[in-house]
Symmetry: C2
C-alpha cells in the first residue's frame, strides 16, 4: 500500500467526505451506491462538470467552489420539478490541492448538501495532471410521469423567470478582481452581492413541486437567459416574444445598468444565473404566481410563447434588440 | 450563438451522441434524464473518471477508450449484482480532439452500450484546458435489498474470482510500445491478447444475478487482486488466506511467468483486471460454481476468508509472499 499522505485517496475520503455521506453512501467504502427512489416516482438525474479556469476562477474560495458544484446540479433538478435525493462526486485533483483546500471545499459542499437535503452517496477521486476538475451527478425524484420538460411550451403560454437576471455575469469580472467603469460607481455592498451571486447559486428547490403542477415547460438558466430561452422554444417547436423591460433586475444590476446601459447585453446573455425559466398556460398563471409568491421567491412574467413562424424576438425600449451572441457558451468561448 | 464548428457542443452531441441515446435520454436535449427503476428494485449507481495519461494512454485507439470508459463502470455494477439501466457521460475535451477521434470514441462506446444493454441517457460536454477527461455515471437495478456489498464476507467463506488475473497489467507496457524481456519470448497473439485485455475490459454482466443469489460479498477488481481483496476483507472485518498457485492465469500470462517468474507481482497487484472477486459460503459454493460454469465464465477458488486475527496472507510455492505494495493506485502512483 502507498504510505498514507495527506492526499492518499482513502484517507482523503475518510477525512473529508465520509462525514458528508448519507446512509446510502455505505461509508463511501463500496464500489457503488444505493439510491432509494420512492414508490410511484421516477428518477431524474443530471451531471455537470466544472473546471478551474473555465467554470470557476482559481481565486474562488474552496468553500464556494464546493457549494457551486452541487448548486448547478440541484438547479437542474429543480427546473425539472424534482426533489433532490443525493449525489455522486468525482474529484480530479492536481498536486497543488492540499488538506486546507479540501477542508474548505468539503465544508461548502456539506453546507449546500444539508440545506438542500441532498447527501453525498458516492464518487471517485483521481489524480489530475491538469486543472482541478469536479463533476457531480445529482439524483432527484418526481411522481411518475410528471418530470417537467423543455419541450412542453405552447403558443400563448406565459414566459416567466424566478429571481433576478444577470447578477452572476456582472459579478464575474468583479470576482476576477477587475473593476469595469460601471462598477466603480457601485456601492461596496452591491459589488459584494454580485460576486456572491456568481459564486453561490441558490437553486429554487422550494418551487419545484409548484412548477411541476402548473408549468408546461421549464429549464434551468445557466448559459444566459436569451440563449437558454431560444433552446427551450426550439425544442418546443415555438417562437417567443420577450420584453427586455420586464426582465427582473436586482438593485445592484439596476445600478450597473444606470451607470452603463450596455450592461444590458451581459444581463440578458451572460451565464450562471441558475434561476428557472418556465412556460405557463394562462389559465394556470394566477395560481402558480400566487403559490410561488407565497414562498417568497420572485417570479416575473417576461414575455410569451408564440407560433414558431413568429420567430424569437426580444423587445427593448427602442425597438427589437439584436445581440451578436444570444448565449454565453462555456464550451465554445475559445472556439467561436 | 457561436458558429457551429466541428466542436460546437450542440452539433457534437447531435452528431455523435444522440444516436447512442435511449428513449430516456430525451434526445439529449433536456437538463436532465429520466431513469426508470423497475418496481420492487433498488437503483445502484457508480461513477468512474478516466484521464489521458493516468488511466489510458494517449496512443490508445479512440474506439477502445470509449469501450473502456463504459466497461469500468458496468464492471462495478456487475460486482454489485446489478443489471445495467443506462449511463451519463461527461466529456471534457481539449482542443486537439477532432471529429475523427469523436467518431471512433462514439463507435466504441456505442458498441459497448449495445452489448451490455446500457444506453446513454444524458451528460455534459465541456472544454478542457488540460488532458482529455471522461467520467461515466452508470445506473443499474437489483431486486430491493439484494445489492451485494463488500462488507458481507464471513470467516469460512470461499474466495473466488472470475476470469484470469494480471493480463491487463502485463498488457500495459506492451500497449505503451515497450517490450520487456519477458515479452520478447511471447508469441504475437499472446502479446495482442494482453494488450486487448488492457484496452477492452469485459464486465461479467451475465453472472450478476448468480452472485447476488449466492455470494456473501463481492467487488470489482480494478486496482489489483491483492490490494482489492485486502480492502474487501478489511470492510468485512475479516482476514484471508490466498493461495497464489490457485490464481487463474491466461495462457499468455503463464507464458510471461515462465519467461520471468517475477511477473507474478504484476499479476497479483497490477490494475485493470475488471473481473469480480467474491466470498461464497461453502454451502452455496457448488451451486454457484455450476451456474457460472454453465454460462462459460471461468470461476476459480483462490483462498478462504479467515478471522481478522489471522491477518491477510498470501501463500506462494516457497512460503508466504510479501510485496512492497499490494495495490496499483492510480491516485497515489506519483505520491507514494
Amino acid at each position: 500500500m502507498t504510505a498514507p499522505g495527506p492526499l492518499d485517496e482513502f484517507g482523503l475520503i475518510e477525512r473529508f467526505f465520509a462525514p458528508l455521506a448519507g446512509p446510502s453512501g455505505l461509508g463511501l467504502k463500496d464500489d457503488a451506491a444505493l439510491v432509494h427512489v420512492p414508490v410511484g416516482h421516477d428518477l431524474v438525474t443530471t451531471v455537470d462538470a466544472i473546471i478551474e479556469g473555465v467554470h470557476f476562477l482559481p481565486s474562488d474560495p474552496a468553500e464556494t467552489i464546493g457549494w457551486k458544484a452541487l448548486g448547478v446540479n440541484v438547479s437542474d433538478l429543480s427546473a425539472k420539478g424534482a426533489e433532490p435525493l443525493g449525489f455522486l462526486l468525482t474529484l480530479a485533483l492536481p498536486k497543488h490541492i492540499d488538506a486546507s483546500w479540501l477542508a474548505g471545499f468539503a465544508d461548502g459542499l456539506g453546507s449546500a448538501a444539508d440545506l438542500w437535503s441532498c447527501p453525498l452517496v458516492g464518487g471517485d477521486t483521481v489524480k489530475m495532471p491538469g486543472p482541478l476538475t469536479l463533476s457531480i451527478t445529482a439524483f432527484g425524484a418526481v411522481p411518475s410521469g410528471t418530470m417537467l420538460r423543455r419541450s412542453g411550451a405552447r403558443p400563448g403560454d406565459i414566459l416567466a423567470v424566478t429571481g433576478t437576471m444577470g447578477d452572476a455575469a456582472l459579478g464575474l469580472p468583479l470576482a476576477r478582481g477587475s473593476l469595469p467603469s460601471w462598477a466603480s460607481t457601485l456601492k461596496p455592498e452591491d459589488r459584494a452581492f454580485l460576486v456572491e451571486r456568481y459564486r453561490r447559486p441558490r437553486p429554487r428547490i422550494n418551487v419545484a413541486a409548484m412548477l411541476r403542477a402548473d408549468a408546461s415547460a421549464a429549464m434551468d438558466i445557466s448559459d444566459g437567459l436569451l440563449g437558454d430561452a431560444a433552446k427551450m422554444l426550439a425544442v418546443s417547436g415555438c417562437g417567443a416574444l420577450i420584453d427586455a423591460n420586464l426582465v427582473p433586475l436586482s438593485d445592484a444590476a439596476r445600478h450597473a445598468l444606470t451607470a452603463e446601459p450596455s450592461c444590458l447585453e451581459t444581463v440578458l446573455t451572460g451565464g450562471d444565473d441558475y434561476e428557472i425559466l418556465c412556460a405557463v398556460p394562462p389559465a394556470r398563471w394566477d395560481r402558480l404566481q400566487a403559490n410561488i409568491a407565497a414562498c417568497g421567491v420572485p417570479f416575473t412574467r417576461i414575455g410569451m410563447v408564440t407560433e414558431r413562424e413568429a420567430g424569437f424576438s426580444v423587445q427593448g425600449s427602442d425597438g427589437p434588440l439584436n445581440f451578436s451572441s444570444l448565449a454565453f457558451n462555456h464550451f465554445g468561448q475559445d472556439n467561436s
